[in-house]
């Protein structure tokens, strides 16, 4: 467990010192959301209808963009080899790096989302569900993303390949995330969809680090 704390602390310190990285992800999220009203027109009923979906899709794309740097820097400067060779359980290393990734991208995305939801005229009932769904869904996004990021280490055309691998796997999160927001607006109970998001997060927290660790071991062989 000490390796978890150490890696988490290190990655958070690095992220804070290079806060421009997190900021860029947030800026991308904001710009992507803003493009939708410009594309479909400013009519507030239409915007309210698509708000949940737009926020979720943009959040997924923003998170995807940031996955690239999850392992790449450590892979290139040899830190990753050291971590693998250290004999510490690699699963905890992955878990710590993923947690740091979520704290520096997922969490800021969640905090920014209500502001962007305002610009899309999201009805008042949707905000609670949006925040709850994003809080339950974005950890899974980081976890699945960690598997993808570990798999493409050292490949040609890494970035495009990464989105290709990971986006189909994000579909369930997108569906239940959007359904939660829509359900809340319609006044339906969103317990079921939120529970499913939570179930996927618990599932992913157990399986994804294991798969990502296997991929990291291959990458550093």
């Amino acid at each position: 467990m000490s390796v978890f704390a150490a890696v988490l602390k290190r990655d958070l310190a690095l992220a804070l010192r290079q806060s421009a990285d997190s900021f860029t992800v947030l800026a991308f999220f904001a710009i992507a959301v803003v493009l939708f009203p410009l594309g479909v027109g400013p009519e507030s009923n239409t915007l309210a209808k698509i708000a949940g979906g737009v926020l979720w899709v943009s959040a997924l794309l923003a998170a995807l963009l940031s996955l690239d740097r999850l392992f790449t820097v450590d892979f290139e400067d040899g830190t990753l080899d050291q971590l693998v060779l250290s004999g510490e359980p690699l699963v905890f290393v992955v878990l710590a790096k993923t947690a740091a990734h979520w704290l520096t991208t997922g969490l800021p995305l969640i905090l920014l989302s209500p502001v962007l939801a305002l610009t899309l005229h999201l009805p008042g009932e949707g905000y609670g569900a949006l925040l709850a769904a994003l809080s339950l869904g974005t950890p899974t996004v980081s976890l699945i993303g960690a598997v993808g990021a570990a798999l493409v280490l050292g490949s040609r055309r890494g970035g495009v390949l990464l989105s290709f691998l990971v986006l189909p796997l994000y579909v369930p999160i997108l569906i239940f995330g959007t359904l939660s927001v829509e359900g809340a607006i319609l006044g339906v109970s969103v317990k079921a969809t939120l529970s499913l998001l939570g179930a996927m997060a618990s599932f992913a927290v157990i399986l994804a680090p294991w798969a990502a660790a296997a991929a990291l071991r291959q990458a550093t062989e």
Partner: protein, 244 residues
């Protein structure tokens, strides 16, 4: 199980199966295609469009069968490091992708006269489309590294991750679909008559034998490619040793 890790032993069995699979596929196609496309009666509701069904259903079946074997090969490769498992997965992935695409195209062509649109966001269609993306991702990553062994390993991890995820994707898409739109389409809308079952089973058998035959052919060429690569590598090594 471990006996099959040896390419020679594996190929001995595969080569013995090949003529049977290819022959049976030919026989079944020769009987099945005329029955399915000409002599079987048109459906009372769908007319002649029902004939697309005899290509569509076997394609969809193969697309899932192949993913199953891909996932099993990937797992076998990760667990036992069987070199043949990765060669097998590499050989079969494009077959699966093509049958998935075929299922989608025939589905779209059938959908146009039946549902009035080439594409409907039906749960089955959507998960089949996502399956195609997963296949393409698998092929892309297997081929994305300078070192082909690294590609094998990365692809195997993806194959296993995909097999865990596919049921979740299918289930979520189904849920999404039923909540989003009332189901206009009911697959049990027509009675499945014996006149439909006969050509359907003939075509299912034909497609399955064909997929097995193609898989063995592709196995052979994959193994030859590996041999060729090794021969070239040793040639380069010899040349550099001589230069020193």
């Amino acid at each position: 199980m471990h006996r099959f890790a040896n390419p020679t032993a594996f190929m001995r069995i595969a080569n013995a199966i090949f003529p049977w699979a290819a022959g049976l596929a030919t026989v079944l196609f020769v009987i099945g295609l005329p029955v399915a496309l000409v002599t079987s009666p048109p459906d009372y509701q769908q007319g002649d469009s029902v004939r697309l069904f005899y290509v569509h259903v076997p394609s969809a079946w193969i697309s899932m069968l192949v993913y199953g074997s891909l996932a099993l090969s990937s797992a076998a490769f990760l667990i036992w490091r069987h070199p043949m498992a990765s060669v097998s997965a590499r050989a079969i992935a494009p077959v699966g992708a093509i049958f998935t695409a075929l299922a989608l195209v025939t589905g779209a062509l059938w959908g146009r006269p039946m549902w009035g649109a080439y594409w409907v966001w039906d749960a089955r269609l959507t998960s089949e489309l996502l399956l195609l993306f997963i296949y393409l991702g698998y092929i892309a990553i297997a081929d994305a590294f300078e070192d082909p062994e690294r590609g094998d390993k990365a692809a195997a991890v993806l194959g296993v991750v995909g097999s865990v995820n596919l049921p979740i994707i299918h289930f979520s898409v189904e849920w999404w679909n039923t909540l989003h739109q009332p189901s206009i389409i009911k697959m049990d809308g027509f009675t499945v008559d014996g006149s439909i079952l006969l050509p359907l089973f003939l075509m299912l058998g034909a497609f399955t034998c064909y997929a097995v035959a193609i898989w063995i052919l592709r196995l052979r060429s994959e193994l030859l490619a590996v041999k060729l690569r090794n021969a070239r590598m040793s040639e380069v090594n010899l040349a550099s040793a001589a230069a020193e």
